[in-house]
Amino acid sequence: MSGPSGESRELGKRLGVFQPLLFGLQYLRDRKWILAIVIVSSVIATLFRLLVPIFIGDAVTSIQKVQYARVEYYSILIFIVSSVSGGVQFIVNYGSQYISQSYAYNLRKDVFSHLVRKKFSFFEEQTSGDLLSRSTMDIEASRNFILNTASQLIPTLFLIVFAFALLLSINPYFAGIFIIAVPVLIFIGIIFQRKQRTHWRRIRTYYGQMNEQLQENIVGNRVVRGFSAEEQEKAKFSGTTGSYYDEYITVAKLRGKYNNLMPLVVSAAATGILLYGGYSDIISASVVGPLVAAVNIFSLISFPVSFLGRLIVFSENARAGISRIRTVLETDKDETLEHGNPVRLAGDLRFENVSFRRDETEILKNISFEIKTGEFVGLTGRTAAGKSTLINLIPRFYDSDSGRITIGGVDVKNTTLAMLRKSVALVPQEINLISGTIRENISFGSSDDQMDAIKWAAKIARISDFIESLPDSYETMVGERGITLSGGQRQRVAIARAIITKPGILILDDATSSVDPETELEIFREIRKNLSGTTVITVTHRESALRFSDRVFSLNSGILQEEDESQFSEVVRGEDRS
């Protein structure tokens, strides 16, 4: 399923209220026949419900004419008609729920699949709390509209048409009075819709902000506590809930005015019919049955009409939600994992005149180097010199602005991302363990969840002894963010997670910074021993790690330089050697 096409959006702009509906239809392609059943059922249910006041009118006429047998006849008819309408109503309610849930299901699926394919830069701009609200509550807002549209909009519109037809059959003048009310209703509806638009947009934004602040506060709870910033945080959150509240009240005021105007217009028309009908009945001394039926029809449509007003509210809420969901559905920041020729990559790693820019600043300038298969290379340099950027270019988490990166002579851009990342494993600075057991975490990236392989990887990462000392061993649950493990333990689990995939190139981005130097060296030795064909690049500030490496590069001010072993102590200390 793809994002909305330009055409439908153009059309949507013009149709306003129905815009979320057009958007929704894209996610209901395979549910079309159910949608048709629901629509037909809703028409039938409405038709039958409208027969009730007619039969009541007929029954009253029979009573007036003292034909009591007919009263029983009409009573039974009323019962039958109501039962049918009740039964069909079930199809409408359940069916529309089915449609709206299918819509939400499909949309959520689509949103998720876009989300996991977004480039890194997308997550640098968006916040996870806000993305969370886009993928849950914004979808819910639009689902609510779809639900109410499927179950209520169509019946309401049919109801109005039927009411008109019935009135026409009872008395054309009644119908005439009714038709005057319709444009007034539409006019009120349009004004109502326009006035609340911006407010819903803000409501949805504040809701996202609320999620965002919660997320930050929960994840950063130690910092908040550590600096006793609780009051500050409460004030910040309260500011957001306050703005959210204010917008809601503004919408409520609009709703109070415009939404309630709608039934008032209907009742004015009913009064008109009562006056006109009553007057002419007295003049012609005819039976009151038709008049009772006509006024009854109005009392029946008064609620649906006011519901139309609420539907406008739902629609605006949905619209604001959808425009936020679109940020995720837009494809310009998506990666295509399977696009291209799946060429296997193996061999020497080469950078040829690679440059990278971020926000006008040149982070990497014309970098060229070559690393042979199986080499162990150290990369060092000042903080924020661009070391992480450089290694992130290899698995194409970012793309270089110019130059070429090749593995075994093949440009990394000439294979699929899936293939590339299968042969390059990067352990980032920031470790993220998933919730689950240690076993699940280690086998996370591997199709191989054999215990042997897991133990093998854990042993290389020097974490197996620790894991085995735990009561549940490899089945120990680690919290959402691996909360019960120390920083160094977490880093080692992450290293095991990379090792088990037996990558061609293993990149450790300061991934042993919380591991003591002794253990670090043991890990390096194990890697060298067990993964002899694997090229290793480690970013480090430790002299001991540099000494271990076959070759060492330093990156400073965007320029890469190979270092001689005699200079390591100066290199790590960053002393001026010019």
Binding site: Y94, Y105, N432, S435, F444
Partner: protein, 592 residues
Amino acid sequence: MPNEYEEQEEKYIPMQRGSKAFRRLLGDIFSMKRESARLIIAVLSTAIAATLYPLSLAFAINGVISGNFDTLYTYAGIFFLLYVVQFFSNRERTVSSTVLAQSVIRSLREKAFENLQYVPVTFFGKVKTGYLISRITNDGETLSEFLTFQLPQVVSGIATVIVSISIMFYYDFNLTLYALIVIPVLMGFTFSLQGKVRRNYLRTRRAIAAITGNLSENINAIRTIKSFNVEKRMEERFDDLNKTNFMANMKASLLASLYGSTIRIIEAVGIAIVLIAGAFQLKAGLASVGILVAFVVYVQEFFEPVVQLSQLYNSYQSSMVGVARIYGIIDFPRQSSWENATQHADFRNGIELRDVSFSYGEDEALRNINVRIRKGEKIGIVGHTGAGKTTMSNLIMKFYSPTEGEILLDGKNINEVNTGEYRRLIAPVLQEPFMFKGSVYDNILFSNPDATKEQIDELAKRFSLGEIFSHLPQGLMTNIGEMGRNLSEGQRQAISILRAFVRNPEILIMDEPTSQIDPYSEKLIIESLSDFLKDKTLILITHRFSMVTLVDKIIVLNEGNIVEQGGFKDLLDSDGVFSHLYSIQYGESNGN
């Protein structure tokens, strides 16, 4: 697998029963006296106007039958006037019900948020972030529809029913009894479904929380997911939860839809009974045609709130499950020392760890630790990973309480010392620096909102940290993205350090503060630190011996025990764990 977690969570955060939560919620609502009064008046006016209009219709029709124009005009006029009254009362009702609903939701969210600031730190290890967010935002939202639309409707419904029945009894006692025959059937039907409906909605709330939880985890782990190429697998997992959510909602909807349809049929039975009975009454000369018409309208009017009640009932169940989940957070016991710690935090002599042991679960992370830190003393804690260093700082920060033994501040157990005051003495540089969305400045000012940008610039200059940020497009004004994603780990550490320094604390706790800062920058920081630290107490956890020059005493931890302590030189000479660690970092190459 997902269900296991949800059950654990519900066990960990106990939930009140629906009816109890509802009573508590009503208490919250009625505490807003003015708004509740406005709402009740508005609702009652609407209800009264709504019950009177069939009557004016009846009189108008009677006027038509009797050929009386004046009666027709008068009652038609009243008929319309009643709708005008309804317009104004409904308008008032819309606004006041939203004010009530949104105020309640807002205060629930704020209370939950507030309590989150004081629950024990262990809470966050047990409950997943996304689930927590879902409780506070999504579950809160279920109340909106219920409180804004359904609750006032039911109040007005009940009022309508009472007024309708009174009028009906007044005009025709027997016919009214006939009209009410179906009520017991209806009530029995409704109550028989109660338990099922509630279970259904609990399932839907859990399902959406699981979706939120999964999303939150995936978004936060996006780099790992991409690194390991597991997008497809994550999609499959998400799809399972998405399907579960779909099924849970469909199941809830099946019952709700069946209920709605059955109500409609019961309504028709009611009308038919009134018509037939009415015909007999009329035959016996006991009722007028106009009254019969009014009765039919009343029965319909009467069923309208009942039908709405069916919707309300579903919404009620769903909201009560939601609100009970928020109350669960609000009621979660705070870290014990928040509430009853009344002692002031005076710091003149020192901090002492006395026989302190601690375990996160089964294994002891720290065993029998005895350390005395005099005011102004600088101590270093070193040891292998997992030796318990960070645990020790967590205990001193009062994030956890020792399982055995006590930590004393000037001889007072810190559990009895006011936590806010106590933590104000301390500034931590945590192992994993957490960044908030905003600029570099915002993140530093976080710890001390009174500080100025000039002070920060001055601090950055003093510790030579300015250069670390020099590549940023707008310097310290640069927006660093959520969790500082636009920065390198080293830059984040620099912020974390400045954040602690700008607070000018009595006690500085630094946990691997420079592990990802290059040695050159580190050297500059250390040079300026000794001056900054004068008169301050320092607790430094580190692997890097470059910083050890700052401390007076070193404590070496190994597997939760103190194995060595003393001055730098003594330890180096004593050929123990410390000198071994040191030689690896600075000694000869152990490379091959």
